[in-house]
Every structure is written in structure tokens, then in C-alpha cells.
């Protein structure tokens, strides 16, 4: 059997204790939540860590809570609960749909929303055993000096592969990190860094505790589209989340489109709202604008040969999935998934 490396396991009983441990061990420690991302990566010896800080015994960072106009989701809430929560399904359908399509059923029972946000980037040259990576001569992300995706590349381009990230981005979510030195809340857009080695701005010692969604009081439409080979288990070859808010006259008030499984960062497409704003539901203008958004996304998204799946094909699917997901959001038929 492929074995886990040895490590010191910490099981703090309070967030404070967890933060203290993380502050003490910093980069030599990894946070363990659901384990569905961390354990395979540990087995592949992608991290040099001596300490694993398990959040299994922490009370109170699970579940859903309304705080004013915000819905606050505990970071340790299992994805299966996010997918089936009626409030999320109603007010943040893109998130519910994205959560429902993460990996397979067992992963969604174990994996948490916070864990999916903090998912490590993925690449065909890194998510392999130590033996395999050594035979390759390693790569930029770990143990090596060359990139096998971009010839001569000096920056790791492993792909953000978290289904929920684009959904949270379209929803304007913010994230709460707690550390030994205090609490920090950041908009989710600010989390991402264009570096596949670590695509997050969270500092060592910070633990994600809450995901905050501002709920809208006007009509909200959302959907998630996922391209993958199989109907289950697989990471996205392309993920696309959309939000369309309508005003009382059924005209687009605001809209957002975000994609994942491209490069190191999930991408929020700029300029979508300008293309769609003011257009009426069911109008030809809206149809045309949706196509324009699809083409805009196509222009902005350049998948690489990082994750498995032909990059040209994935790029070609960008406008298809953007268009289909926008339509599904308006029609209430999401998610866009081949099954």
C-alpha cells in the first residue's frame, strides 16, 4: 500500500490551541480538515512537513448561520451539506451545484468547504508518487527546477482545481482567517496569487474558519458548469460559475462569471456586468450579450497542459460552458454537467 510519511499529529481541542501550534510550526506543518486533498499529497511526498494539525476535534466551525444579510458557513462544513442545504440552494445555487459536483460522494462527505477553498493546485507533473517525480527529474512545484508545462517556465502554473472557488468568487464571498495574532477577513478574490507552488495569500499560521456570503434581496440566478471526463470522482477539466442578478423589471442588474482549472488562479472575468447590465430576460439583446460574454471568456482564458486533458480542447470548451452555464442559470436548470 502507498503509505503516509511519518509525522507528528496534533489534535488541538480549541481554535486557540490550533493557532498556537500552527504559529509554532509554521511551514513545517499542514492543516488537516477532511483529508481528501492533504492525505494523497502527503502520500505522494509533495510536502516536507513534520507536523500535521488536525482540526477534527475543534468545536463550532461547522454549519450555517445567518448574520444579518450574510450567510456564514463554517469552514469545516462537509461539502455534502453545502450541496444539500436549502438556503444555499436558494440563495447561492452556483455554490450548491459546485459542491455537489466535487469528486465523488464519499469525498463530499469527508471534504469540507474550507478544504476545497484551500485545495492545493494540481498538475499532471506533480500529483504523482515520489518515484514517478524522481524519474521525471522533478518539477518547479517541488524538488525540481524546471517546468514541464511551459518550456523554460520559471513560474509554476499548476492549476487551481477547486470547484467551489469560482462559485464563491461570483458570489462575492469573503473569508475569515484566524491566527495566533488575530483575525483577518479578506474578499476571496484577494486570496489568489498567480503562483502554482502556493496560489494563496494566506500566511503560514492562518487557519480558514468561515466563508461569508452576502445574500442579495433581489432575484438571484446562479449556476455551475463542470467539464470532466467521468460523471463522478474527477477534478474539473474546466469549471465555470455564473451569477446573474435581476431587478424588478427582469433586467440584469449585475452579473459575474468565474472559471477554474485554467492556471494557478481561478479567474473572475472582468467586464461581464457591463455586457449584460440592463438587458431584459428573454430579449434577443440578452442572447447576443451572452454570446459576447462567452467570447470574452474565450479571449481571457488560456488553459495550459498542466492538468490532464488537451489544452486546446479545454480552451475551446470555455465559451461553450460559459454560454451553457449562463443559460442554465437563467433557466434554473443547472448544473451544467454531462450526466
Amino acid at each position: 500500500m502507498l503509505r503516509l510519511p511519518t509525522f507528528q499529529l496534533h489534535e488541538p481541542a480549541s481554535l486557540k490551541e490550533a493557532c498556537a501550534l500552527f504559529a509554532e510550526h509554521g511551514a513545517a506543518a499542514k492543516i488537516l480538515a477532511g483529508g481528501t486533498d492533504l492525505l494523497p499529497n502527503l502520500k505522494h511526498e509533495i510536502y516536507d512537513v513534520d507536523h500535521v494539525i488536525s482540526l477534527a476535534k475543534l468545536p463550532g466551525i461547522t454549519g450555517f448561520e445567518m448574520q444579518g444579510h450574510d450567510l456564514v458557513i463554517g469552514a469545516l462544513t462537509p461539502l455534502a451539506q453545502v450541496a444539500t442545504n436549502p438556503n444555499i440552494q436558494k440563495h447561492a445555487p452556483a455554490l450548491a451545484q459546485a459542491a455537489s459536483l466535487v469528486a465523488g460522494p464519499q469525498h463530499r462527505q469527508m471534504g469540507t468547504l474550507g478544504g476545497n477553498v484551500m485545495l492545493d493546485t494540481r498538475c499532471q507533473w506533480i500529483n504523482q508518487s515520489y518515484f514517478w517525480r524522481e524519474a521525471l527529474g522533478f518539477c518547479l512545484k517541488k524538488d525540481g527546477t524546471v517546468c514541464h508545462v511551459v518550456e523554460g517556465g520559471k513560474k509554476c502554473v499548476a492549476a487551481a482545481s477547486n470547484d467551489t472557488a469560482p462559485a464563491l468568487m461570483t458570489l462575492g464571498a469573503s473569508l475569515t482567517f484566524v491566527s495566533a495574532t488575530g483575525t483577518r477577513e479578506i474578499p476571496i478574490e484577494d486570496l489568489w496569487v498567480a503562483d502554482g507552488i502556493n496560489n494563496k495569500s494566506a500566511r503560514p499560521g492562518e487557519i480558514l474558519t468561515e466563508i461569508r456570503l452576502p445574500l442579495r434581496d433581489h432575484t438571484h440566478h446562479g449556476a455551475y458548469g463542470k467539464l470532466r471526463e467521468r460523471g463522478s470522482i474527477d477534478f474539473p477539466l474546466l469549471g465555470c460559475a455564473v451569477r446573474i442578478d435581476l431587478d424588478d423589471a427582469d433586467c440584469v442588474r449585475d452579473a459575474a462569471v468565474s472559471l477554474v482549472a485554467l492556471q494557478a488562479r481561478p479567474l473572475l472575468i472582468k467586464g461581464v456586468d457591463a455586457l449584460l447590465q440592463g438587458l431584459k430576460l428573454g430579449s434577443t439583446e440578452l442572447d447576443q450579450a451572452i454570446e459576447a460574454v462567452a467570447q470574452l471568456a474565450h479571449k481571457k482564458c488560456k488553459p495550459l497542459d498542466n492538468i490532464p486533458g488537451d489544452k486546446d480542447y479545454r480552451r475551446r470548451m470555455v465559451p461553450v460552458y460559459v454560454r451553457r452555464t449562463l443559460r442554465a442559470a437563467l433557466d434554473g436548470t443547472g448544473p451544467v454537467h454531462h450526466i
Partner: protein
């Protein structure tokens, strides 16, 4: 080494295991509960599925320690639980899988049956589509899933009869 207190199939057990051992390794190699299978090493196949508080989870991606405080059900737990309720023969899910020919090599089936069990306890009258979705994290290489689907549907009717 740490001493784990685990609740497995209704028994409270104490077992010493290194902290980097997964629940799968603790079950198979410490407790001799080898009915839980290992197929892929890292959460890709579902053969190691056990029920954690009734929900299907992957024991190869769970540290032994993380199982503490939860009720773990392995495939070995179904028959005794069925007997404890006064049932004859095997558990309705196990019996239906056997009857329908769903057990070819049988290797993926402990995990598959536990996923089916979890589904039926939540939804006693699932459709074929429900079953396909619920079992979509358990890979089977022998059956093409057809007889598994038949078995799960049969188990649903039999479970209803029992209840």
C-alpha cells in the same frame, strides 16, 4: 504510537497504532477486519468505504485517530446487526447482492454495499438514477454495474419488507 479508542461495529475497542496509519490500515492490519479492501491507495476507487456515523467515507483518507468519537461500520458489522434485529440469513443488501450476481470477484463490493446501505437508510425507495449517483464513488471492474443496480433495487424492496 497512540492508543486509539474506536467504536467499530458497535464494539468499543482499544488499539495502539502509529499516528500516520489510516483507519484502513488500523482496520485491516491491527484489528484483522480485512473485509474493508484497499484498491487504489488514495481515495480514487472507493473499495475502502466504511460508514462513519452512517455516512460513506474513505478509510484510506482518514487517519485512524480521526475515527475516534464516531461510530464506524465495516462490512463485517452488517450481518451481526441484522441478526441482532432478529433477522435470518444475511443483511438484505448483502443477500440481494448475492442473489443478483452482483458479486463477481467481490473485491469492490464491501465498499459498494456500504454505500448502498447508507443510501437505503436515507432513501428507502431510490430510483435507478439515485442509486447510480450514490454508488458513483465505488468503482467496480467486473459487473458493468448492471447487476449491482438490480441488487440495490431488490434490497430496497426487501429492506422495506423488513421494516
Amino acid at each position: 504510537m497512540r492508543l486509539l479508542e474506536l467504536e467499530i461495529n458497535g464494539d468499543r475497542l482499544h488499539v495502539a497504532a502509529p499516528p500516520h496509519w489510516t483507519l484502513l490500515e488500523v482496520l485491516r492490519y491491527e484489528l484483522g477486519l480485512t473485509g474493508t479492501k484497499q484498491g487504489c491507495d488514495k481515495g480514487d476507487c472507493g473499495a475502502c468505504t466504511v460508514l462513519v456515523d452512517g455516512k460513506p467515507q474513505l478509510s484510506c483518507l482518514m487517519l485512524g485517530s480521526a475515527a475516534q468519537g464516531h461510530a464506524i461500520t465495516t462490512i463485517e458489522g452488517l450481518l451481526p446487526a441484522h441478526r441482532a434485529q432478529g433477522g435470518a440469513g444475511a443483511d438484505p443488501v448483502q443477500d440481494a447482492f448475492d442473489r443478483c450476481g452482483a458479486l463477481q470477484c467481490g473485491f469492490c463490493q464491501p465498499g459498494m454495499m456500504l454505500s448502498a446501505k447508507a443510501l437505503l437508510s436515507e432513501n428507502p425507495t431510490p430510483t435507478s438514477t439515485d442509486i447510480k449517483h450514490a454508488l458513483s464513488g465505488n468503482l467496480c471492474r467486473c459487473t458493468g454495474y448492471t447487476q449491482i443496480l438490480e441488487a440495490a433495487l431488490l434490497a430496497a424492496t426487501k429492506t422495506e419488507e423488513v421494516l
